[in-house]
């Protein structure tokens, strides 16, 4: 099961636990599983927080195609089973992957209700709204509204989106797509109990008119822009490239991030240990001719900060540079400059990170 799905289940569980407490209800987390030979995912969904799983398993659903998937989800949403007072889901979460975002759009077009995309924060509470179309300008309280927060306006705004009934129409469900990595999954609990409801596959041939004739995996593709922390290795690793790369990898992992590279490292033709050679790839390059990233933390290890590299990372929230030379260009556009040999500094950082995490764990 994709990480984003586990994250959504975890968040849905937290949202509904609080909802049931706040509103003295006993509403459920429902997982929707579509595909072919995916029974095991239904059980995993329950172990990860679902109370109910709606499952349709059919060869025609092996690949995600928007038409059949949308129609089936719409059928499920309108089913009267297992939902007591409501005909349709109250809140609906989708992953904000390419397919997930598209699917959320078509499902909500079919259900004719509201959708916010690429959300990274969710909470349910009553909303006091005064809106010229929805409330004729007078303030009204709408209860149990999913507040969906998402970045937009090219990174300049963080908007809170609500789905609110109009005087003419009650909108169900309130839906959103969720940015991968925004939430934490629940630990797997094999003792959780839940119900699997099999929804039959029942679609006219017309809905299967799009054919997928082939696929190709993109080798080495790694999207560094989706990580909160990037540790980028520069030519400061030259004196021992293997050790340098492995230290940067360790640091990245300890902070939940990923490894990036400067262009100089990509073209240096270092001889690396076989297990590490795969990490030197242009796919990880950051800079004008590589990826542009805006993470929360950008750690530039042994990178001088030439303009070609700067263009790919200078919009990061916080930039930390590790370098022996204090006269390099990056000193003028970083927030923290640690002067030192990366081969000594990174192990020290790793040790302190381990201590810090131990402290956090013991406190919690």
């Amino acid at each position: 099961m994709a990480n984003v799905s586990l994250e959504m289940l975890g968040e849905a569980r937290r949202l509904m636990d609080k909802y049931n407490r706040d509103y003295s209800e006993q509403e459920s987390v429902v997982a929707v599983v579509l595909g072919h030979k995916v029974e095991h995912l239904a059980l995993e969904a329950i172990a990860r927080g679902a109370d109910i799983v709606y499952l349709t398993d059919h060869p025609e659903l092996e690949d995600l195609r928007l038409q059949p998937y949308t129609k089936i989800i719409a059928q499920m949403s309108l089913s009267k089973e297992a939902r007591k007072t409501y005909d349709k889901p109250r809140y609906f979460l989708f992953p904000a992957t390419n397919n997930g975002r598209d699917l959320s759009s078509t499902v909500l077009a079919e259900l004719e209700s509201g959708l916010a995309s690429d959300c990274n924060k969710l909470y349910i509470q009553d909303a006091n709204i005064s809106h010229r179309a929805k409330t004729d300008g007078t303030p009204r309280v709408f209860s149990r509204i999913l507040h969906m927060k998402r970045p937009d306006f090219s990174g300049y705004e963080w908007s809170t989106i609500l789905c609110i009934d109009s005087p003419k129409i009650d909108y169900h469900p309130q839906a959103c797509s969720v940015i991968p990595g925004s939430f934490k999954p629940l630990a797997q609990d094999p003792n959780r109990k839940g119900q699997v409801i099999r929804h039959p596959f029942n679609l006219p041939i017309e809905d299967l008119r799009l054919t997928i004739t082939g696929r190709e995996k993109l080798l080495n593709a790694i999207d560094l822009s989706s990580y909160n922390v990037i540790v980028a290795a520069g030519r400061g690793i030259s004196k021992n490239p293997s050790k340098g790369i492995s230290l940067c990898l360790e640091l990245a992992r300890a902070l939940g991030g990923e490894l990036g590279l400067s262009r100089g490292v990509c073209t240096a033709q270092y001889t690396l240990e076989p297990s590490l050679a795969q990490y030197i790839t242009e796919a990880r390059q950051i800079g004008e001719t590589g990826q542009t990233v805006k993470p929360k933390f950008y750690i530039a290890v042994g990178i001088s900060g030439a303009i070609q590299h700067k263009k790919g990372m200078d919009q990061a929230d916080r930039i930390i540079a590790i370098n022996t030379d204090t006269e390099v260009p990056i000193k003028d556009f970083c927030d923290v400059f640690i002067q030192g040999d990366l081969f000594e500094v990174i192990p020290k950082l790793l040790e302190q990170i381990k201590n810090g995490k131990k402290l956090e764990a013991s406190v919690n």
Binding site: A109, E112, G114, L210, I322, G340, D341
Partner: protein
């Protein structure tokens, strides 16, 4: 063959064009409006279809009267005809309500084989409007398209799509709505096609100088839409509040730390482990 390209005007987020308030947050009102950058790819895709299969390219945008400038920008890339959907009733529409108005316009033009749409506007950034328009029209939907081709005789299309970590090859019947991926590339493999492309580009640039001759403006009545399905009335979602995010500082002042100093290392780790909400 008939093609529609749906476009939108957005604030100009380019470096040096976007205007900031004193607190370094976005000043939307003072920032000029331009064609959504991703929409240029949809225009390129439509032009590619015209070069290869012939036909007419109709470009639609929904917005207040000044947005006709955005349509002029579209024509300087390529358009045969322009349509502005303009009516106070269309204002403050979310994606569902926008899709409703756009669908009505496409039906009014009639006989459209392919609708081209860009992926994600630079302001709303939802990526929803294209798929929702396709759904309302009952068109086959191909999203994240990197390359495509049409068979006008068999009334079919082929599309290469970008999915996370993969590329997918699909085929389906017309009519179709194609959402171009930001990585979309038109493919012209023969010299004659490229020369015709140059001719069309020269013609459209000339036409764009007197673009209003080719512009039709429609309001809610012209489209015959239900006023509770468009604009602010027809939008299930509202923007309740906005937290502005100031731009990253262009000048940073570095805190200088020494790598052999344990306290400095601890300070650095403190910064890294600090989680922000």
């Amino acid at each position: 063959m008939n093609y529609v390209v749906v476009t939108k005007g957005v604030p100009d987020f380019r470096h040096g064009k976007v205007v900031f308030k004193e607190d370094n947050t976005l000043n939307r009102a003072a920032t000029p409006t331009v064609m959504n950058p991703n929409d240029f790819l949809a225009l390129e895709a439509a032009l590619e279809a015209k070069v290869k299969y012939g036909g007419t390219v109709h470009v639609i945008s929904m917005g207040p009267p000044p947005y006709k400038k955005v349509l002029q920008e579209a024509m300087s890339r390529y358009a045969d005809k322009l349509y502005l959907l303009s009516d106070p009733k269309f204002a403050a529409a979310d994606t569902l309500a926008t899709a409703e108005a756009l669908s009505a316009a496409v039906r009014k033009i009639g006989n459209i084989d392919v609708i081209f749409s860009g992926f994600k506007t630079a302001d709303g950034e939802t990526g929803q409007t294209g798929p929702q328009t396709a759904w309302k029209m009952g068109y086959t939907l191909a999203t994240h398209v990197m390359e495509f081709s049409i068979d006008p005789q068999l009334k079919k299309f082929n599309a290469t799509r970008a999915i996370t970590g993969e590329v997918e090859f699909t085929t389906g019947p017309l009519p179709v709505l194609v959402v171009t991926d930001p990585g979309f590339q038109s493919q012209y493999k023969n010299a004659t096609q490229r020369l015709n492309l140059l001719d069309l580009q020269a013609q459209t640039k000339k036409r764009a100088q007197s673009f209003e001759e080719f512009l039709t403006i429609w309001n809610a009545n012209d489209l015959g839409v239900d006023e509770w399905k468009v604009g602010i009335k027809g939008s299930p979602t509202i923007v309740d509040s906005v937290d502005p995010i100031p731009r990253a500082p262009s000048e940073r002042k570095a805190r200088m730390l020494i790598g052999t100093n344990l306290q400095h290392i601890q300070e650095a780790v403190q910064i890294l482990l600090r989680s922000d909400q």
